[in-house]
């Protein structure tokens, strides 16, 4: 099977006043469809930078990135937008829901940009809210529900366009332990029963155990790639 993500010799430098600062220093990584990968590493090691590049929100300075069979480096901004809309579902640490839109509208937003008809948008948004257990809050505003519930809404939004890949940057970073567990179970269920590829960043080893594969970053380089269980010992 073709890998969903193939990365070769990926470099990222940030331009600062003091000159270019290298943040990713030659990453090679291949992820197959259906994998559940946790990325760990100390703060500032480049995990978020890496995730943003995976999500086509940022571009590498050098190196090759093939997503779902397409060379991302050759795509224009409209094609990237299309890719983000169709292939990727994003989950952020800060939830990033639109504060003035109700949950149904928040969840259906990717479908608006995917040119799906209104009636179908509503139906699918409600299906997704149902899936994350929040169907009865469809008309509520984000600030009327708890943080854990908001993250579920964000996951519903990530799922609504039936993406192949879910990218989550510290999705449990703002949540308590119990809620974190629930969110992770949800990811695991999506991975196991729906076959969605999940890549998530966390700095908590307990969270990482929900994944099947572990990748460790240190100072912009990949220092470990293997089984989750072996990493703990």
């Amino acid at each position: 099977m073709d890998p969903i993500i193939r990365i070769e010799g990926l470099h990222k430098e940030y331009e600062t006043d003091a000159g270019p600062v290298p943040v990713l220093k030659g990453i090679d990584l291949t992820i197959d469809p259906g994998e559940f990968v946790a990325i760990m590493g100390p703060s500032g090691s480049g995990k978020s930078t890496f995730m943003n590049i995976l999500g086509c929100l940022d571009v590498p300075t050098r190196g090759k990135y093939i997503l779902n069979g397409r060379d991302v480096g050759t795509l224009n901004s409209d094609q990237l937008a299309h890719l983000r809309n169709e292939v990727i579902g994003f989950v952020f640490q800060g939830f990033n829901l639109l504060p003035r839109a109700n949950l149904e509208d928040n969840v259906s937003l990717p479908l608006v940009y995917g040119d799906v008809q209104k009636s179908e948008r509503i139906a699918r948004a409600n299906d997704m809210l149902e899936k994350v257990g929040l169907a009865k809050y469809a008309k509520s505003l984000p600030n009327q529900i708890s943080g854990g519930q908001q993250q579920r809404v964000a996951i519903a939004r990530a799922l609504v366009n039936r993406p192949k890949l879910i990218l989550a940057d510290e999705p449990t970073g703002n949540l308590d332990t119990r809620t974190s567990g629930e969110i992770m179970s949800l990811f695991r269920q999506l991975n196991e029963s729906d076959g969605i590829t999940v890549v998530l960043v966390t700095h908590e080893p307990d969270i990482a155990t929900y994944a099947k594969r572990l990748v460790k970053f240190l100072d912009g380089s990949l220092i470990y790639d293997g089984e989750v269980s072996e990493a703990r010992t």
Partner: protein
């Protein structure tokens, strides 16, 4: 997609109602001012063109006296030198289609128990042709009436109203300065003159009757002025030349000496007045447009603030698949909605203001569908023009920077 955008634009605007309202207010005032000023400007042009056409076309007025005579400035028409015979001679020029001498005066007119003070013109039937005036009822007096100085009169609509009310004035006898005059004709309505006088407040009688019987004068046989109509606009310069030459000859004015009369081209004068009105209405429109421009800048200003405030929202939208043009359209839509709604309110305000100006200040206003449509188009363009820069700024935000924005 578009419907969804409208809903979202509406929601975004609703989130900061006071600000949206104030931004719109700029548009409302701008459009209102444009509509009002156009209405007043076009109204002025309309009334000018109305009075011009009521005056008659290709007109000259010939006045006694020279503008400078012997180094001493004389008021025009001060010493009467023109005669009925002069008018007769002028009318025989091939360039002239009609010429009428006029002896004007003011007199008290009585019918039954009603009396009215009005302007009485002693003239000839040609006056009707010169002034492009018609008879509504009855007949005009004839040249024979002029020859024999009979006491007959044509009366204007205002005079008829005041003396007769709803009664038919034709063949009734009125008294002008005690003497009886037979009303032979009722003049049709003519409305206001360029200087705002009521042209229907007039009585026409034979010029000879006026000279000999109504207004006795020390200058026997003279008339105050002569009105003359050229056969066409092209003939106006030739007509002016020929009339000057003929009158100088008749008045025995020596070569090089000043004329004892003045020929004035009335049509050229009123065209100048019309031109001045046009310039005024353009100026009014220009001033009003500036307020529309200020309204547009207000939109741009608020949109820029809005883009900055919503940077994170833009980042989220881009992350889940919005294209640049989706973001562009979203912000443009808001600018256009503000413009269109503001414009609608502005049109209402402008039309209301124009109606009020008409009602309370008695100003002639003309509101056309064209001027309202124009205001709408301009407002939509202002919205697009001033909304475009902020919208493009939003659309070009780098997704990752927009998302990181706090």
């Amino acid at each position: 997609m578009t419907v969804q955008m409208l809903i979202e634009a509406w929601r975004a605007m609703g989130a900061n109602r006071l600000r949206t309202f104030l931004t719109m207010l700029g548009m409302v005032i701008g459009v209102g001012a444009v509509v009002l000023m156009l209405a007043i400007g076009q109204g002025a042009q309309y009334s000018v063109s109305q009075s011009i056409s009521s005056m008659g076309s290709n007109l000259f007025i010939i006045l006694s006296g020279s503008s400078t005579s012997g180094g001493l400035r004389m008021g025009l028409g001060a010493t009467p030198t023109l005669t009925v015979a002069d008018a007769q001679a002028l009318s025989e020029l091939p360039e002239m289609s009609a010429v009428a001498p006029v002896v004007p005066g003011v007199a008290q007119v009585v019918y039954g128990s009603n009396n009215w003070s009005t302007q009485v013109f002693g003239t000839t039937p040609a006056y009707l042709t010169v002034r492009n005036w018609t008879i509504a009822q009855g007949y005009p007096f004839a040249d024979s009436d002029v020859r024999s100085a009979t006491r007959v009169a044509m009366i204007g609509q205002t005079v008829a109203q005041n003396l007769f009310g709803n009664e038919d004035p034709v063949n009734k006898t009125i008294r002008i300065k005690q003497s009886p005059y037979l009303v032979v004709g009722l003049l049709s309505a003519k409305g206001q003159s360029l200087d705002g006088r009521d042209q229907d407040d007039t009585i026409l009688i034979p010029v000879t009757t006026a000279q000999r019987k109504l207004f006795g004068t020390q200058f026997q046989g003279t008339v105050r002025f002569i009105m003359a109509q050229a056969v066409s606009a092209q003939m106006m310069p030739a007509a002016e030349r020929e009339m000057n030459a003929l009158l100088r000859q008749r008045h025995h004015v020596r070569e090089g000496a000043d004329s004892d009369f003045t020929v004035r081209n009335l049509t050229a004068l009123v065209n100048t007045a019309a031109q001045a009105t046009r310039v005024m209405s353009i100026l009014l429109g220009a001033i009003a447009s500036i307020s529309l421009l200020v309204g547009g800048i207000g939109i741009m200003n608020i949109m820029l603030v809005s883009v900055t405030e919503r940077t994170r929202e833009i980042g989220i939208r881009v992350a889940i698949g919005a294209r640049q043009r989706d973001i562009l359209m979203q912000f443009l839509m808001e600018a256009i909605i503000i413009s269109i709604v503001g414009c609608t309110a502005g049109v209402v305000l402008g039309v209301g203001g124009a109606a009020a100006a008409n009602h309370f200040a008695d100003i002639t206003v003309v509101i056309t569908g064209g001027s309202i449509l124009q205001a709408f188009m301009v407002a939509a363009c202002v919205g697009i023009f001033f909304g475009f820069y902020p919208a493009r700024k939003a659309a070009r935000l780098k997704p990752i920077e927009a998302l990181r924005y706090q």
